[in-house]
Subunit: 72 residues, 2 copies
DNA sequence: TCAAAGGTTATGATATATCATAACCTTTGA
DNA sequence: TCAAAGGTTATGATATATCATAACCTTTGA
């Protein structure tokens, strides 16, 4: 994974965390709604993991934002 | 995978194919640029595969569009 | 027409996302 | 302060994205 890709995943993770907090959800809240491991969500929000489309869909539905916002 | 998720992947795949064609790339062109198997790209464009963020980044860079467009 | 380019489907291998669990660190509110 | 809530990191298991290859189907332009 090159630097640009690392940056990209960090940005996506940051955006997910921002939207989640703005909507008033803790990681634990969100994980229990979408049945995801909290270790996993942490990795995604910190840009350590290459999150898949379906996981983005689940998160976006749970917190009520468009998937688009994760790629701003 | 539920129906909504299937629909979502089909939409993402359709959008990728549309942007690719609009920009004048064949599947083979795009695959050779990003070093992806054509079987793979076909699966993604047909919504049979849960494409990852990094693959979306690679595609978007190669054809010169924003990742956002794949989630419209 | 039909050959070439483009795309699909199948199969087995490999890499990695996610699960499951646990220990630990950090933040926050009383 | 400090206990509880929230978040991070590590490890091994499982599911699946992607690779590699091949055969085949579809579209298109001469």
């Amino acid at each position: 994974m090159n630097e640009e890709e690392k940056k990209f995943l960090k940005r996506v993770g940051f955006n997910i965390a921002k939207q989640r907090k703005d909507k008033g959800f803790s990681q634990l809240d969100l994980c229990s709604i979408i049945k995801m491991e909290k270790s996993n969500l942490s990795s995604i929000e910190n840009g350590r993991q290459n999150v898949t489309s379906l996981t983005l869909l689940k998160i976006s539905k749970a917190i009520g934002v468009k998937v688009n916002l994760f790629f701003e």
